[in-house]
Symmetry: D2
């Protein structure tokens, strides 16, 4: 199998490195319009072929699959052309900036029987796999809330705001872990430097009595990546900044009894043991690459296929619409 990474910016070189390490992918190429980036990648990996125009990549019959790691506004047109050219497609998250684009790409992939893979990398971490196992196994009971924080002093994207960049991760994690249908989205935030919000808060309302919130910020002095999931039986904390014990399950919760005065209320919550399941350390991008390759070999949709990518984009799209209107409630059907 031969793949080509299109866009050798910040993330592209990681894709090149991973594709080279994969044992099924026999040949890796790179494409960028900037000759300096091509020179940079060839110095590191002298054996790879390079292209200065993605159309040449699509025209090359030896290329089986392309990975699109360009700015978001190029995802849709490039992915569409690639699918029409018969290539399997890996797209960086988010799949595109409108759900209409995503729907069209999903249909094209279906029609041409090609793999359309969205790189929601966190789904391929052992931590998120374990969290899904715990939540879907009903260990936490009914889910009451999902609360996520992802803030750091990070690079500003210049074509999208912080929602499309950071919240894409956490919404993909939530979509993968929870199965409750979402009914409405609200978002607030601020753009301190240009027209793109650098800080945002997104609230999700569910059909059931469950609530989700996402706090993202490109301008935080400290790096926090933490998700709390509250259930009516147990509660879970996923702290991705920990080098070990990233996932902790607390046998804690609230016990409802007939209140007989404020002093009794003091004992209305219950704290029990905590445990941290052993999480295997594997590089998520390598696992993602295996999933992409397997989906091509077995002609079946990958875990993070176009439909999964579309689901995330629908929420991001609504959040973006809401934030522009100071928190207008946007319904999701």
């Amino acid at each position: 199998m031969k793949t080509c990474v299109i866009g050798i910016g910040y993330w592209g070189p990681n894709l090149v490195r991973n594709f080279i390490s994969n044992s099924t992918i026999k040949s890796v190429a790179a494409c960028d319009i900037n000759p300096q980036r091509l020179q940079f990648i060839q110095e590191r990996y002298p054996m790879i072929d390079v292209y200065d125009d993605y159309r040449k990549v699509l025209a090359d019959p030896s290329i089986d699959a392309v990975a699109i790691a360009t700015p978001v506004n190029l995802h849709y047109p490039m992915a569409k052309e690639a699918l029409l050219a018969g290539k399997h497609v890996w797209v960086e998250k988010p799949l595109s900036y409108t759900s209409a684009h995503c729907e069209e790409l999903v249909e094209l992939a279906d029609k041409h029987k090609l793999s359309l893979f969205v790189d929601h990398t966190f789904i391929y971490t052992s931590a998120v796999q374990k969290i899904r196992e715990i939540v879907r196994g009903n260990e936490l009971g009914d889910i009451l809330y999902f609360d996520s924080v992802r803030v750091n002093l990070g690079l500003f994207q210049h074509d999208v705001n912080v929602i499309w960049d950071l919240a894409a991760h956490d919404i993909s994690i939530m979509s993968y872990v929870l199965e409750q249908p979402i009914v409405a989205v609200v978002a607030h935030g601020i753009a301190n430097y240009n027209s793109h919000e650098n800080l945002a808060h997104i609230s999700l309302y569910f059909a059931e009595n469950c609530f989700a919130h996402f706090h993202v910020n490109w301008t935080s002095p400290v790096k926090i990546r933490r998700i709390l999931i509250g259930g009516n039986k147990k509660m879970l904390v996923y702290d991705d900044m920990q080098t070990s014990e990233k996932v902790k399950v607390y046998d804690s919760g609230v016990k409802i009894s007939t209140p007989e005065g404020r002093y009794d209320m003091l004992v209305q919550y219950r704290m029990g043991d905590m445990y941290a399941p052993q999480i295997h350390q594997s590089e998520a991008l390598a696992v993602a690459t295996e999933e992409f390759v397997a989906s091509i070999m077995k002609a079946k949709p990958p875990l993070t296929d176009g439909r999964a990518g579309l689901k995330v984009v629908k929420i991001l799209e609504a959040a973006d619409a809401s934030i522009k209107n100071r928190g207008k409630l946007i319904k999701i059907e």
Copy 2:
């Protein structure tokens, strides 16, 4: 000076202990309708007088001041009666659950030349004092955002939701630290167990390009108390769960330069040294007690007077109204 603590529930005994330790307060009494609570407090402090009815306290001419540590719905009627009886009044936060109540109490205290003190205890911590000094001294530059999280597995109050309980702390801190006028409030949340929200998110819009957010939760498995303040020069983190280095100032921020392509954008943020100013460890409640006593002795309003309490209640009231309407934007004049 003789004071009486009314309401010997969870917090009242702390007030008794602090008032006893204060060198100006010569005599401390306690009042509760529950005889077991009076017995409890007298076993600990055999020298204190006890009352089983607050009306008896107000009728006792030897009492100079009362501290009201009852459920929130009793704050207003008791404080009003106490002021009318000529007593100086300490009220636990929040001052009351409507701004109309608060305005009336402010007027009464003014009219009768009595001290009306609201126990926003955090204002009296060395950490918050230092933060105000740093922010007001313009060390952070223009404030871009104020972001607060206060979550834990905490006792449910049965007369108010989590906003009135936990957000009261952080909004009082914000009011004390920032001087920017607020123009609108929005809140979201969920009530998982009864009609009172146990989790809430409050967003504040300012006249200037500044944004504040408060996340409060009574049902979190872990205890987090952290405030981030982002300025255009420096940024500050206040982590109250740390036993030392509670306040950290980061010489970090965003540097705006003409973007010349995505790779250049990578260096658009700036990270510098961090420092943690030495914070003296003093019990905030003892400092608050001194302030209350001083305000009585010098006949001047305390730092956290009725007006400060009213300012906080106005925001809480708006947040509560918003949360009941799935995040309706409530204007603040």
Copy 3:
């Protein structure tokens, strides 16, 4: 029961407060040669009697028990006189600075059927109780090592070095948790400011293949209080600086298999789940006070009696002798 605290320095006021809160102790007195300290304590607790000479305390037949919270060199003479005067005795740790003193006190207490209590407060924490339960229940398997660190920027005692002050805590914990007999002690350290070591390292050799180490330091910029206990089945970490999850049990260890080359050795260790048992928060000093009172009422030795105190002093004494001789190995019979 009436008790008197002798020595109202740094720790004495805590004893006064705890004795007042205990429901069996009906009357508390305080004794110090410094009138300012007596004034200080009476301002806080107006109902207590005061004495300016401990001999007057011992001569007072209304006093049932005394608590000695003086500098270490006064523990032995004061405790001896108190036992001879028929008083039950609480002594701050360490019991004295020689084992000969301790043996004499143990005999005197036995002979006169009086309680001799040594205030190894940490033994009365829920954390240490839980650790003993885990270790003695063989959950960790055979104990391979016990490693303790207790460092901070702390007050210099001017009559003893850091070993007698800080290591007394950890050696009492180890004595309580492990049952393996110790055969030899070695210590190293440095005295940077005067003749008393401010930093020390103590190593203990056991009859079995087990090793213990204690690192104590009065001149550390950060506060660390951590004990690691390695077993051949599981391992335990006790981090007293954590506000929650102080005790963690790791299902990790080493798996011995026939080594077949270095690459195989990489998988020779085993990492499994971790759990943190729920630890109840109770004030250790209150529990210690109850134990002291119960030992008097029931005429049985307390958990931390003179023999337990002697066991700790034997090790401290050997460590002190070793440190003066650059780590000479001192045998313990």
Copy 4:
């Protein structure tokens, strides 16, 4: 320049990757007696040449330099042969297991004007560079103690004990940072699984009133890598497990005043601000590679040359001799 990595075990592949990324090194080869390891490395880096016998490497005139990443007992014979064959030599730490070996290698390198580089990687981290700058710039004042902990559940080496593996890192850091001459070494430890100690404590005595201690353990359930450096002006903490703020400088210390009683002693220590200098994130191994290459190009000894390696081995050798004799004091001339 062409280099060959000899020994493709745990660490060797990192050297291969780094050498490939270095822009001066034009060609990289790999050597191992195990054909599976050669296959492994060639799958990752198809362009590299491989050798199944290090003698063939030494005989190949196209090879300028070799990197020896074999078990410790092979360092000396291989490095010697390589130097005699006219190759520049990179050796993994420790340089060898006797100082006699090291002295001979130093002489050989001198005589043949070849670079002899010891891979004490931590020296090339920005953190250690910053620490040396702070200490040598006298910001901490006179150094009172150096205290290091490096423990984790790590791979057992089967030819050496934990001292040679882990303490090699910290002793190289100390040697680089401090200039005080060492006069004696003492070590204690335990071998729980085989004849090699898995846990050890090393104490160093200096000519001046300074003390150093190293705690290393392959069988700790948690990973700790922390160095405390106490000076009489300021103190420093280097916590390598932190993702940011690895180095913190505390303006804290001890203030000596005439003691006038125990209560005064409470204020004898001084706590001030703390700051964390910004540490640039660079891969230490890449910096080390540049230093090796530069030393060859400019024919000057690298920062971590044979003499630096010998200095570390002298201390490790003494520590190893001491631990076998239950802490016998070994003098260092």
